[in-house]
């Protein structure tokens, strides 16, 4: 167990990562983007909403608007960053010709994978948790329960972990970082857009046959393509705003399965990557 934490690859990866210029540039840009979205959500929640509904806007409405805006913005931004951190981490060893040194040491392929995975995920978590104070702003306005924050954060961590695992698999398969990163972006795009398009087609078909969804929303088979959409676990939380999406567990389990499968394939590939050197 202690080897999971004291894995030398984690220390090496973090040390190298934190020496790069992007180690301070990315968090700065990330927080600037989130600050902008919080300001936008606040302005939209107070000014625009007030004009639209012609009444005093409740603090709870503003709080919920800020919360949802930040939660969705951060998962979208982090989904764009996850391939950069994960898909290049094994290919860079191949490009720099340092992988042979790792593979002929006493580190096993799972240990190398784990070190790369933890380092990639930790940097994303650094970004995620650095935005928590902004999410906490929503508590000042009310309308958001602490449990919602916990579930949204846990859900985001799970999705990011799965995407990092997919990125590492791409990194184990390809020789060049650019190819691995492009492949990982392709997978993220497929999960985000293609699943939504399939859902849209199924939804239209279901509505034309069974009429509008009503309170319960579309049945599970119509929602099924969305289970692999990175935004679905956030949509399907106990939130009245998106009440029709009600299968968060299915989505969480699918992302966990995707992560585990990618991890297993990446480790297997890493074990055999001596021929790529």
């Amino acid at each position: 167990m202690s080897r999971l934490i004291t894995n030398p690859t984690i220390i090496k990866e973090l040390r190298q990562r934190l020496r790069e210029r992007r180690s301070w540039l990315l968090p700065t840009l990330y927080l600037l983007v989130l600050s902008g979205t919080v300001s936008f959500a606040y302005y939209f929640g107070t000014e625009v909403e007030q004009q639209a509904i012609q009444r005093e806007v409740q603090g709870a409405d503003i709080g919920l608007a800020i919360f949802l805006t930040v939660v969705f913005t951060q998962i979208i931004v982090l989904l764009l960053m996850a391939p950069v951190f994960s898909a290049g981490s094994i290919t860079i060893e191949k490009e720099q010709r340092t992988l042979a040194g790792l593979l002929t040491s006493l580190l096993t392929a799972p240990q190398i994978w784990w070190g790369k995975f933890v380092a990639a995920l930790l940097f994303l978590l650094l970004l995620l948790f650095s935005a928590l104070p902004m999410l906490a702003v929503s508590f000042a306005f009310g309308g958001v329960e602490p449990m919602q924050l916990v579930r949204a954060t846990a859900s985001t961590v799970l999705v990011l972990a799965a995407i990092c695992a997919v990125g590492l698999w791409c990194s184990a398969v390809f020789r060049r970082s650019v190819h691995a990163t492009a492949c990982c972006y392709g997978i993220v795009l497929t999960l985000s857009v293609v699943t939504a398009v399939i859902f849209g087609i199924l939804m239209a078909h279901w509505e034309s046959n069974a009429g509008p969804g009503g309170i319960e929303g579309p049945p599970a088979y119509v929602q099924a393509p969305l289970f692999l959409n990175p935004l679905y676990p956030l949509l399907s939380m106990d939130d009245p705003t998106f009440g029709q999406f009600s299968y968060p567990w299915s989505s969480w389990m699918l992302f966990a399965a995707l992560g585990c499968l990618s991890a297993a394939l990446a480790m297997r590939r890493l074990q055999r990557s001596g021929e790529q050197l």
Binding site: P8, T9, I11, K12, R15, Q16, R19, E20, E93, Q96, R97, T98, L99, A100, G101, L102, L103, T104, S105, L106, L107, T108, R272, G274, E275, L277
Partner: protein, 309 residues
């Protein structure tokens, strides 16, 4: 220490190993020589557990390469043909990472780092980034890293490539001292003069197979026969020396100067001794007599001259 038997490795491109066999004892420093694409790197990669063999067996220190790769890694130090370094790490951090990767515990951990710094003469540069080191110093660092876990066997694939003459000399001295300490070394290189200087034995490989060395006369006449070259420094008339040398059966004078003869004889040490006696009986005052087999370059030419062409 290393036992390779009928090793085969097939790649999609076609090149690999084709039934190569080798045995290296613990007190040997063996050079692996052959043209490009002969299978040297593939053999070393198989022994380093990076590439699985298609068939045949390979054992290092009694462990099966395919069956027990972890045990192999614990006893083998591997230096690839184009080794990479983490440019953005400091020298000390680089060694610390690999000492941890080899799971060395205190006090062995600190000792190993100190020994590596001593060996590479980088003690005063532990805070320097690896990218600041010259190629020669990087190679020293890599050799030191390869030796961190005190391997019993060293597998070196073209370790002198790109090194300046001084760095090459330093590397040779380092390998000689490791050999003297009892480390078995298998080294692949195209720099034959280096191999000639340090190796106890040289093994030829081509097209993935062992190449036996044809004796000198095979190249010209086809009759398999060993040869030996004798350098003689003498005092006395050149003509008398030439006459005596030419009278020895099979002797062939390669070079003749005032006070110096270079003669090629069929056979080995015994024939050289007889040849010396013939010279002495002819009244030649021999000041220096040196009989040796053909140099590695000549042996390489004999082994691969035909193949290369």
């Amino acid at each position: 220490m290393i036992e390779v038997d009928a090793l085969r490795k097939t790649f999609r491109g076609g090149r690999g190993l084709n039934g190569f066999s080798l045995r290296v004892e613990s007190n040997e420093l063996v050079g692996l020589v052959g043209p490009n694409g002969a299978g040297k790197t593939t053999l070393i990669k198989i022994l380093a557990t990076l590439v699985p063999a298609s068939s045949g067996t390979a054992h290092v220190d009694g462990h099966d390469v395919a069956g027990d790769p972890r045990a192999i890694r614990a006893v083998v130090g591997y230096l690839p043909d184009v080794p990479g370094v983490y440019q953005d790490m400091r020298v000390g951090e680089f060694l610390e990472f690999f000492v941890d990767a080899f799971r060395l515990k205190e006090p062995r951990r600190t000792e190993a780092i100190q020994r590596a710094l001593e060996l590479s003469e980088l003690r005063n540069r532990t805070e320097d980034f690896v990218e600041q080191l010259s190629l020669g110093w990087k190679q020293r660092l890599l050799v030191a890293k390869t030796l961190l876990h005190q391997p019993k066997v060293l597998l070196l694939d073209e370790p002198a490539t790109g090194l300046d003459p001084l760095a090459r000399i330093a590397l040779r001295e380092q390998l000689k001292s490791l050999h003297a300490e009892g480390v078995a070394i298998l080294i692949s290189s195209h720099i034959l003069s280096d191999l000639e200087d340090i190796c106890t034995r040289v093994v030829f490989i081509a097209e993935g197979k062992n190449v036996s060395e044809p004796p000198a006369s095979t190249v010209s006449s086809g009759a398999p026969q060993a040869v030996i070259q004798c350098e003689i420094e003498f005092r006395g008339p050149k003509e008398t020396a030439e006459q005596a040398a030419a009278g020895f059966p099979g002797a062939h004078i390669l070079k003749s100067e005032e006070g110096f003869l270079l003669v090629e004889l069929p056979g080995g040490a015994r024939e050289a001794s007889s040849f010396l006696q013939v010279l002495l009986h002819a009244g030649i005052v021999v000041l220096h007599f040196d009989a040796r087999g053909p140099g590695l370059e000549e042996r390489y030419r004999r082994a691969f001259g035909e193949i290369s062409r």
